[in-house]
Symmetry: C2
DNA sequence: CCTGACGTTTGATCGAAATCAAACCTCAAT
DNA sequence: ATTGAGGTTTGATTTCGATCAAACGTCAGG
């Protein structure tokens, strides 16, 4: 990998407290590769051979059962995925595909396990990361069990709005089909949910969504920090 | 706490690799208490002051938003809950109440954090435990996004059947209202889901459910180890 | 500029699950 | 035995979201 990428990877929470030498040997054993969009990286049920780090692009985690499919999460740069399977030396519970052209770092899972066995600081970082991942899924699960489709969309828009600097409009980070699946609804219903939000100042223009009456939208969405706030 | 309880607590995956002295000082600082049924132990949003260990009885984890409420998980003996909040020194994302009379060990979260900072073996055990919790929630999330209510019930019955020794019948571990909430449906619909399963050999007798045609039930349920198998 | 593919939207309909309401058990307390 | 409370079931109805089908937009490639 390019040495210019090193600081970027090192800046991930997971690695930043790691001893420099150890970090370098970990990364030296890793593979860096650029994939086109819509390439399957891993498939659920396969043994966890690598920990993945998204350096550029975006990766979709999804799951299948019974002929149905659903998007579980989107991983933007710089994020890791499938950490739990790697640590447990178990099979993946989710599949992953690139949603755009993506630069991906693949670290052999054996190296990860060796590193956390021998480096207490790395173990602590893993604990922090895992606890965050756990709480993120809990929040997703609460969202789907406690909210209607329209409420889930409204809160998601508010989240993106905050993420993107509260400028009164939002650029949807992925296509609507994927967003629908992530929110647990059919694409047709996402479209209808947007219509339902029209009276609350939500105006869709392609991938741009204008939020012209945030307080009305919040009244409907009833955002809840214990579901929507990803910093806690 | 009674010294007779020590081995029981020590047998939890989380503690079994821990140095004995350290374990004893951890437990000495803890509180052991017996609560009647339906007592609220913690409430979502509160700071995580304790890690909880269920020694006897059973605890329901639940969440609320917007006037709605849902059961997130049931914690039987000997299990812990709210580990992630404790590690992060964050607020609880879920509330907890006893579902029967329960004996609960409460370990101050500061002691837990000190222990994992200074004991690499304990840190490793925490990683294992957290990874398991994470994967358990992922499975729940897959279940609710990929399956209908009837399928969720069918698979849950098969799981309990296996847990209880595959004797042709199942004793529901909690009341049907709670089971319904755990499975993400209204109590009325749980009752109807049982009726739907009647042609597949499912016969309800109070809290006992007879599974008279397991292969038919499995044909309908289409169990998937990546959702239903809790050992992986 | 045209074409066709693909994502999105709209309309119509269907089906699953929620809700409302009432009846019905079960069982503990009197 | 009787009462009453809480859990469960059944029935009727409504609502939400899924599905099916077709139209529409957008945009890259010819």
């Amino acid at each position: 990998m390019r040495s210019s990428d090193l600081p970027e990877v090192k800046s991930i929470h997971l690695f930043e407290t790691m001893n420099d030498d150890r970090f370098e040997s970990l990364v030296n054993a890793a593979y860096l590769q650029t994939f086109p969009a819509q390439v399957d990286l891993i498939h659920e049920g396969d043994p966890a051979d690598f920990l993945y780090v998204v350096l550029d692009g975006c990766v979709e985690l999804y799951a299948q059962s019974n002929g149905r499919e659903t998007t579980m999460a989107m991983v933007p740069p710089v994020g890791t995925f499938i950490l739990a399977a790697v640590l447990k030396d178990a099979v993946y519970l989710m599949s992953a595909r690139t949603s755009q052209q993506s630069r991906i770092l693949m670290i052999p899972s054996q190296d990860i396990r060796l590193a956390f066995e021998s480096d207490p600081d790395f173990a602590k970082a893993i604990i922090r990361e895992l606890a965050n991942c756990y709480r993120a899924v809990i929040k997703e699960h609460k969202s789907i069990k406690l909210r209607s489709t329209v409420e889930r969309l409204a809160n998601r828009l508010i989240r993106y709005h905050t993420d993107q600097g509260s400028i009164g409009s939002v650029l949807l980070p992925y296509d609507k089909r994927t967003l629908a699946s992530l929110l647990g609804m059919a694409p047709e219903n996402l479209s209808r949910a947007f219509n339902t939000l029209k009276p609350y100042g939500v105006k869709v223009e392609g991938a741009t969504v204008h939020l012209n009456d945030l307080s009305a939208l919040e009244t409907l969405a009833k955002p809840n920090s214990l579901i929507d706030d990803r910093t806690m």
